[in-house]
Structures are given as structure tokens and as C-alpha cells.
């Protein structure tokens, strides 16, 4: 595994506009009733007038230590050479262990294919064509950054080196490869 694809969501720059959600649906043919990604605008938290929203990206975290892969009895949920947590539809027996095991609740059964589905960094669609993930390329405010964290020159590496960031539920030891830059209350930090 030479590449370590990661995604950085800058909550400072995110405006919760759902362009990512829509682009992902079109690019990956995600049925209307389910979703690979949404950005939830949570809040406002705090007391008037000291309020703030949280822009919470909800999508597969691409865990380095993935519970969904560990519980899969057939190897249908697996980590590919590129490090991306992937799904082999042919091997899936529909036991739903992976859906239950995901602590982030981001796996769903695709009503069309009847197989578990989730964000795969657009691996089969855009990455295969050498393009960046759909959500990343459409984001109006450039809140998303995608790339190889093994390459110290990459934009993601630079970002992670220079900006405060966190991973969701890091205490579970899942080691998510989705990193978040927390928003600063009262304005955007340069």
C-alpha cells in the first residue's frame, strides 16, 4: 500500500450547502432515499448572541482500522491496495454485519442493488478516471481537500501539518482517514 488517501473537511469554510451531497448522488447513482454523504448543519449552539453552527460531514470515515471489514465473514468488505475501504458486491451474502458494526452509522443497503453501500472516495467512478471525488470538485467554497497523505508535498499533507484538526470518535481506535478542521467561533481563521 503506497498511497494513503485522506479527505480533509474544513468546517471553517463549509457552508452546509449540500452541493457535495447532490454531486455525489449524480456521480455514483445514489438512490434518493439513501445517502453516501450529507453535511448536517447542527445548532445553533451557545447562548444568544454568542451562537455557532456545526457543519458535520456524515460519510464513511475510511477507517484504517475498520470494524466493518473485521466483521465481514466473506471478505466482501475489504481494504483495497489503495487503502480505500471497499465493497465486493459479488462476495456479499447480505448478513448486514458491517452495517451493524460501523460506529459512524454510514453504511446503508442500496435499495437498487440490495448490497451495502457507502462512500468509497468515488473510487469506481471519478478516481478511476484520474479525477478527484465529486464532492471535492464541486464544493463552492473549497472546503474539501483530497489526496495522498503519504506524499509530504500533497495539499492534504500540508493542510494536516499546518492546521488544527481532529477525527471523529478517535477514541474508538478506528483511525478515520477523514480529518476535520474545526470552525473557529466568530469568523474564519486565515
Amino acid at each position: 500500500m503506497t498511497k494513503r488517501y485522506v479527505l480533509v473537511h474544513d468546517e471553517n469554510k463549509c457552508i452546509g450547502c449540500q452541493a457535495c451531497n447532490v454531486a455525489c448522488r449524480s456521480e455514483n447513482n445514489v438512490p434518493e432515499s439513501v445517502t453516501r454523504i450529507q453535511v448536517r448543519i447542527e445548532g445553533p449552539h451557545g447562548n444568544f448572541p454568542n451562537l455557532h453552527f456545526k457543519y458535520n460531514r456524515v460519510s464513511c470515515e475510511q477507517c484504517e482500522n475498520a470494524p466493518c471489514v473485521k466483521v465481514c465473514p466473506t471478505g466482501a468488505a475489504y481494504v483495497a491496495d489503495d487503502g480505500i475501504v471497499s465493497i465486493n458486491e459479488k462476495k456479499c451474502v447480505g448478513c448486514l454485519y458491517c452495517v451493524a458494526a460501523c460506529p459512524y452509522k454510514v453504511r446503508f443497503i442500496n435499495p437498487d442493488t440490495k448490497v451495502p453501500d457507502k462512500c468509497d472516495f468515488c473510487k469506481k467512478t471519478r478516481l478511476a478516471r484520474g479525477e478527484s471525488p465529486a464532492c471535492v470538485s464541486v464544493c463552492p467554497t473549497d472546503a474539501l481537500c483530497f489526496g495522498d497523505a503519504n506524499d509530504p508535498q500533497s495539499e492534504v499533507s500540508q493542510l494536516l501539518d499546518t492546521k488544527t484538526n481532529y477525527q471523529q470518535k478517535a477514541n474508538l481506535g478506528t483511525q478515520p482517514r477523514v480529518y476535520r478542521i474545526p470552525s473557529r467561533k466568530g469568523g474564519i481563521k486565515a
Partner: protein, 758 residues
């Protein structure tokens, strides 16, 4: 279900919004449509999901889907597209889309339709319109349209037919700042947010009402350049959240803060004296007027601390000229719209940010740009004019009061249709032809709009859905969506000239036609063929580029072509780069700029801070002035609205993908106010006043002032044809009174309401 703001974005497992009206005549559901076919390769085109019209790049994927992305050739758009733009295909093959002409068979508005063919539609329209023209004159037919490319051919038809009564949605949305800019500068102004170091914003909600370049510019200024953003807004919007400072200003009092900023700039001698001396007319009168508008005075009116207004003004001046006071967009907060927008422009003029980076500037179209370059730096597009159009003697229905003269040429006062239809003032309107416009949502006093439509002898609507307004038509003409049609080359010049073009990506679905063709064919049927000499879009495009096939193919290939370097006349670095590029460029001033070339199309040739022309048009309004307004009764709450990122004003609420993201608008209400009324989040509430009454549900949140309630606009449609939108949420226009603001002709977006738990 826990109701907070996040539940408007539905989670996994939510069912598809809306039920299907499988039998809606003329719809894709009724007629069926084959697989989507079209270009498998990316085609550069122009979005039409909102009025910003971003450059896009789209292609058909496996005959199933259309992928719509931004066009990265257009740098300031960054290849980005918003949720509405990305969902364009969801409208394209929505089962409820109308793809066959329809005629009304029941009562008007009853919802009984019958499919007909185009010839029958044209004949029926021509017969009725020509009869009305013969009996009452062509002026008794009103033509209203979404502005931009859609209105050009449509208004051409109106002119050929002989009616002066053409209207755009300007007075229901952006007209206020356009009229203010025309009064002061003689033309529209643009803002250079991306290069600004200090931005003051009065609720221009760019992070929800997305305008791609401006939204990106604001984010760029904030995140890359560390610009400071100060927001005055009664609601905690996304733009308020991203601000360094947010003030929950009392609704409708923005003008007091704006005038007070001007007061401090002048009194504390922070204004750009040299700039004012050289470019400004009427400064003394203005300075005298604002003497009274101290920060203490403003504080008492708007709940913003005087000390903060003073400090913010000093910070603004320190960052000048690379600083801007945003002049806003759709928001007639009060009837004093004209004064508010002028006061905002005045603050910009005082800090001398005109034609400076991060300030205000004027569009540089090819003709003007070439003059500066001393060569043909950019091709000039030809305008196809048709000679000998009939001379129209009749006056427009809104030409009764000269104070509105500035809006007549920019689309007129849309609401004057109501008075003309219902009270025959200044004369009786008898027919209404609408093209992609939805006054039922965007005008105020919905009941009156219904009455006006019912009073008409004949109504035609050209649309993609049976919109709330189209539901009252006699004939509905199904238009091809923007993904199915070609159009003329459009000018999108900013700091330098730029062109782009809309191109067909998908083969036409059903029996629809592009609107330019519809109006041309109707023109023939009306016996006006001589005014439609062009054959098709290709002929028109070639005419525009003066037969330069290479240029045309480049514009089509890239989808976005810009020329030269960005130019702001008073910005030394830009002028330097410009003159380096063009050896024959006009000579620069001693200070290395084109400052002396800056001129204004006003009577004085200067920026008119006070205007005798306006004084003549509207006595008492020559000088910008504060007037008290009453927005609500003492026992009412303020009612305000705004835009949301996943919908466009009045147009997208039935688009499946977008309806699925958000199909309802909760009524924002502060916890303290809600407590008094015993309302909790999710409760059904009635919200009402003298104009109307609406039912919705409450969203209790600290993100709103205790004396104010808020709802996103465009929801709560009332005709059964829009089944995903109908009956969902509150309909804002049903609560807003029909009032026309002085000079701008704007309708009103703030009023008082009461709320009761149901």
C-alpha cells in the same frame, strides 16, 4: 423526530418526497419518456437553476443520468456548482415535468387540463391575443418573464405585437440596489469581495443565497486574506455564523446603521476627501443631513451599540480603500429601500473604494475595454436589431408616476399588473402572457394575484412545470429545459470582457421547444413574421460574432472565453499590468492610474450623493434621509424571509432531488417568545395578519431575535399540480401586504404577524 435545523436535510431512510400524480396530463408520467440520450462527452454550457447562471460542464452518463459540474475554464467559478446546479437533471426527467402543450378545460385555476398539439396552442393564443388587440389595443396584454436570456426573445415578441407592458421580476427581488446605483452612478455597480480586507454586510446571505463568484469571493477574502466580516442581521444565518462580529439588528432599521456609518466617516474625518472633491456631487447637502445621524441615535433605533458602530466605522476606514459595505440583493426590508441602498453606496463612496481592489467597480465590456487598450483586445458582439418595429403609442401601466422612471427600463413595476387588472388603473389589462415567472410566489398578497389572474380574459404560461402561476393559465406551453436547448452567446464581463454560451447537452425530452423558438413560431402565427427574420440559433450566433467561425467555435468549445487582464481604473498594479500588455493603451495619469478617465452617466457626470434629478422625480428624496416606518402593529412580531442554499426563490421546490433535501420551511421563533406562546419545536402553528393566514410548524431556536419570526421563502405552494411542494410549509407571499416602495417600485418583504399554536 427531533426537530432542529438539521432535520431539514433528510437522513438516510427518509422516503422520497411527494406522491406522484401519475395522471397529470402532459407530464412525463402521463406520456412516458425514453432513456436519456445526448452527448456522452462534456459539453460546456450555462446553468439555469437560479438567476446567477454559472458556467457548467455536463454530459450524459450511460443513458441514465446527466453529470453536471462547474466549468473550470471560468476561473472565478473554480469549477464549482451548487446543489441546485448539480440537481439540474432531476428537473429534466422529473415525471411531473410538462412536456406537451395543455389547454384548460375546467374553470381557471381548477386544475383540469387537456393535452393539445402546438398548432392548436398557437392558433388559440393568436386568435385571443389578436382579438383583444383589435378591440382594446395591444397594450391591454401584459408580458412578464424571468429576466436574462429568457426575456430577450419574449420581449421582442411583445414589442412586435405592440405592447409596452413588459415586466421582469426586478421589483420583487433585486431592483432596489439597481435603481439606487443608477441614481448615484448612472449604472449598475459590482463588488470585488475577493480582494476585500474588511466587509460590512447587511444580511446579504451569500452563504445560503449562493451566487457562485460572490460566495467564493467572500470565502476567499475571509479564508485566504484574513478579511474581517461584520454582519447586521436579525437572524443567525450562515453568513452571520461565519462573521467575526454579528449584530442581531432590529428588522428594517439597517438604514440607521448605514447612515450612522456615514456620519462617523464624515464627522471623524475618516472619509477620502480627495476622492469626494474630484468625483462627488452633492456632498455638502448629504453631510448636512447625516449630521443628525449619530451612533447614539442609531443605537436607540436598531439595538446596535453606538460604540460598536463607531469602532466598526473606524476599522472600515482603516482598511479603505480595500474595504466594502455590501449593498445587498433581494431584500426590500422596508418601503425606504431606495434610501437604504443609497446609504450603503454612500458609505462606499466616502471611503473612496470605487474602482479599487476590494471595493466597488463597474463592468468592463469589450467596447469600453478596447478603447482603453487602444486595440481590439476583445471582440465586440453584434446585436441583432430588427428595423421598423411598430411604434408603440400607449404608455406603460406603471408610467403613472414619474418617480419610478429609473425602474421602467429595468423591467418595470411588476406588481402594477394587479392594479391595472383589478382597478383598470391607469387602464384595463385583459390578458397576461408569462414566461418562466411565478408571481404567485414572488409578488406579495397572493390572494390579489389570484384575483388578477381570474380577472383576465386570457392567460398564457410558458414553463417547465405547472407552476403555481401557470396553474391559472388557459394555455400552457412546455419549454425545453436549459439542458435541451441552444442560446445566444451571453456577455458575462467583469473586470475584463468575457463571453459564454448555453449549448444543448441532452436530446429534447417529449414535445417541448426552446422558448426562443416558441416565441418566434407564435410571432408567425400572430402575423408578425416580418419581425422574425432569423432562421435559428446558429444564424443568430454567427451574426453575433460577425461570421467569425473560429471565435464561435472557441466559445462553444471552452464554454467560457475571457480576454485581457482584469482592470480597475484606479488600481495602480492593475493599470500597470494592463498597459504592459497593450502597448497602444491610453496614457496613464501621473499617479499611474486611469483615475482621470473615470466618469459617470449622471446629469452632473459625477457620483450624485444628493441628486436634483431625484428631487424632481420624487420631491423630498434628493438627499438621502431617514424616515420612520411602521412595519408592524405593537402586538405583532416582525416577519422576515430569506434564501436557502438548496432552493431558488420560487422555482425549484418541486424538483425531486431538491424537494428531497428540503420540502418544508419551519417558522423560526425564539425560545422566550415560544415560551410565552406555549409553543415547542415541531408544534403546528398558525401565522397570520390582515393580509393572510398560513399553517406551518415551529422551529424554536435562539438564532432569531425574540421580536421576530423567520421563514425560508418559496414554500407552501397551493396548487395541486406541484405535488411535492403543495401544502408544505408557510407561503410567505400570502402574509406580505401589497405595497409599492417609493422610487424603486419594490414590493415589501417585512411585515407584522401573530402566531398561535394549533
Amino acid at each position: 423526530m427531533k426537530l432542529d435545523r438539521r432535520t431539514f436535510i433528510k437522513g438516510a431512510g427518509a422516503s422520497t418526497a411527494g406522491c406522484m400524480l401519475a395522471s397529470l396530463p402532459g407530464s412525463i408520467a402521463a406520456l412516458g419518456a425514453g432513456p436519456v440520450s445526448g452527448s456522452a462527452k462534456h459539453v460546456a454550457s450555462i446553468c439555469e437553476m437560479c438567476s446567477t447562471r454559472c458556467p457548467i460542464s455536463a454530459r450524459v452518463v450511460n443513458g441514465q443520468n446527466v453529470s453536471i459540474l462547474g466549468n473550470d475554464k471560468a476561473k472565478s467559478y473554480g469549477g464549482a456548482v451548487c446543489a441546485r446546479g448539480g440537481a439540474g437533471h432531476s428537473l429534466l426527467y422529473d415525471k411531473q415535468r410538462i412536456v406537451k402543450p395543455l389547454k384548460r378545460v375546467g374553470e381557471r385555476g381548477e386544475g383540469k387540463w387537456q393535452e393539445i398539439d402546438w398548432q392548436e396552442a398557437y392558433e388559440t393564443i393568436a386568435k385571443n391575443l389578436n382579438r383583444i388587440k383589435q378591440q382594446h389595443g395591444a397594450e391591454s396584454v401584459a408580458f412578464s418573464s424571468k429576466s436574462g436570456s429568457l426575456s430577450n426573445h419574449f420581449f421582442h415578441l411583445a414589442k412586435a405585437f405592440g405592447s409596452p407592458n413588459t415586466f421582469t421580476h426586478a421589483t420583487t427581488c433585486p431592483g432596489g440596489y439597481v435603481v439606487a446605483a443608477k441614481a448615484m452612478f448612472g449604472s449598475k455597480a459590482k463588488r470585488d469581495l475577493g480582494n476585500s480586507k474588511y466587509i460590512i454586510n447587511f444580511g446579504h446571505n451569500l452563504y445560503e443565497g449562493i451566487n457562485m463568484t460572490e460566495t467564493r469571493g467572500l470565502m476567499k477574502a475571509q479564508s485566504d486574506k484574513g478579511a474581517k466580516l461584520v454582519v447586521f442581521e436579525p437572524r443567525f444565518s450562515i453568513v452571520a455564523d461565519k462573521a467575526d462580529e454579528w449584530y442581531a439588528i432590529k428588522p428594517g432599521t439597517d438604514i440607521a446603521v448605514a447612515l450612522s456609518i456615514c456620519h462617523v466617516l464624515i464627522r471623524d474625518n475618516l472619509y477620502d476627501r480627495e476622492f469626494v472633491e474630484q468625483y462627488v456631487e452633492g456632498f455638502d447637502d448629504f453631510a448636512k443631513e447625516v449630521e443628525a445621524y449619530t451612533p447614539q441615535w442609531a443605537e436607540a433605533i436598531c439595538d446596535v451599540p453606538a460604540e460598536d458602530i463607531r469602532r466598526i466605522t473606524h476599522e472600515l476606514a482603516a482598511a479603505a480603500p480595500h474595504a466594502v459595505v455590501d449593498f445587498g440583493h433581494r431584500a426590500t426590508f422596508t418601503t425606504e429601500e431606495f434610501e437604504l441602498r443609497r446609504a450603503l453606496f454612500a458609505a462606499n463612496v466616502l471611503i473612496g473604494n470605487i474602482e479599487r481592489k476590494g471595493g466597488l467597480y463597474f463592468g468592463k465590456k469589450a467596447k469600453n475595454y478596447n478603447k482603453f487598450a487602444g486595440e481590439m483586445a476583445a471582440p465586440v458582439l453584434a446585436k441583432p436589431g430588427v428595423k421598423n418595429l411598430p411604434k408603440i403609442e400607449a404608455k406603460r401601466i406603471d408610467m403613472v408616476d414619474e418617480q419610478y422612471a429609473l425602474i421602467w427600463s429595468s423591467g418595470g413595476i411588476y406588481q402594477s399588473i394587479l392594479t391595472a387588472a383589478l382597478e383598470a388603473q391607469p387602464y384595463q389589462l385583459r390578458a397576461w402572457v408569462m414566461s418562466r415567472t411565478n408571481p404567485m410566489q414572488t409578488m406579495t398578497d397572493r390572494a390579489k394575484v389570484v384575483e388578477a389572474l381570474k380577472a383576465m380574459e386570457f392567460v398564457v404560461a410558458c414553463d417547465v412545470y405547472i407552476s403555481e402561476s401557470a396553474a391559472y393559465a388557459d394555455i400552457i406551453l412546455p419549454e425545453s429545459t436549459y439542458l435541451e436547448r441552444d442560446e445566444e452567446i451571453a456577455d458575462k464581463s467583469g473586470k475584463n470582457p468575457a463571453y459564454y454560451v448555453r449549448q444543448q447537452v441532452v436530446d429534447t425530452i417529449g414535445d417541448t421547444k426552446p422558448s426562443w423558438l416558441i416565441w418566434q413560431e407564435l410571432g408567425h402565427q400572430l402575423g408578425l413574421s416580418q419581425y422574425f427574420p432569423w432562421e435559428n440559433m446558429q444564424t443568430l450566433q454567427l451574426f453575433q460574432v460577425d461570421k467569425d467561425a473560429a471565435l464561435l467555435s472557441k466559445i462553444k468549445q471552452d464554454g467560457w472565453v475571457s480576454f485581457g487582464k482584469p482592470l480597475m481604473l484606479r488600481e495602480p498594479s492593475m493599470v500597470k499590468a494592463f498597459t504592459a500588455q497593450y502597448p497602444n493603451a491610453k496614457p496613464v495619469d501621473a499617479d499611474g492610474t486611469y483615475a482621470s478617465q473615470l466618469s459617470f452617466k449622471t446629469p452632473s457626470g459625477k457620483i450624485e450623493l444628493s441628486s436634483s434629478k431625484v428631487e424632481k422625480m420624487a420631491p423630498g428624496r434628493g438627499v438621502i434621509k431617514y424616515r420612520e416606518v411602521t412595519m408592524k402593529k405593537a402586538d405583532e412580531l416582525f416577519f422576515i424571509q430569506g434564501k436557502v442554499a438548496v432552493h431558488t426563490n420560487s422555482a425549484t421546490h418541486n424538483v425531486p432531488m431538491l424537494a428531497n433535501l428540503m420540502s418544508n420551511n419551519g417558522v423560526w421563533i425564539h425560545p422566550v417568545t415560544a415560551g410565552h406562546l406555549k409553543i415547542t419545536s415541531g408544534d403546528k402553528v398558525r401565522i397570520y395578519n390582515d393580509t393572510g393566514s398560513e399553517e406551518g410548524h415551529a422551529l424554536v431556536t435562539p438564532g432569531i431575535r425574540p421580536d421576530t419570526v423567520f421563514a425560508y421563502m418559496g414554500f407552501g405552494s397551493k396548487n395541486k399540480e406541484l405535488s411535492r411542494a403543495t401544502g408544505r410549509g408557510v407561503h410567505c407571499g400570502n402574509l406580505l401586504p401589497h405595497v409599492i416602495s417609493p422610487v424603486t417600485g419594490m414590493n415589501l418583504h417585512t411585515t407584522g404577524v401573530k402566531i398561535a399554536k394549533l
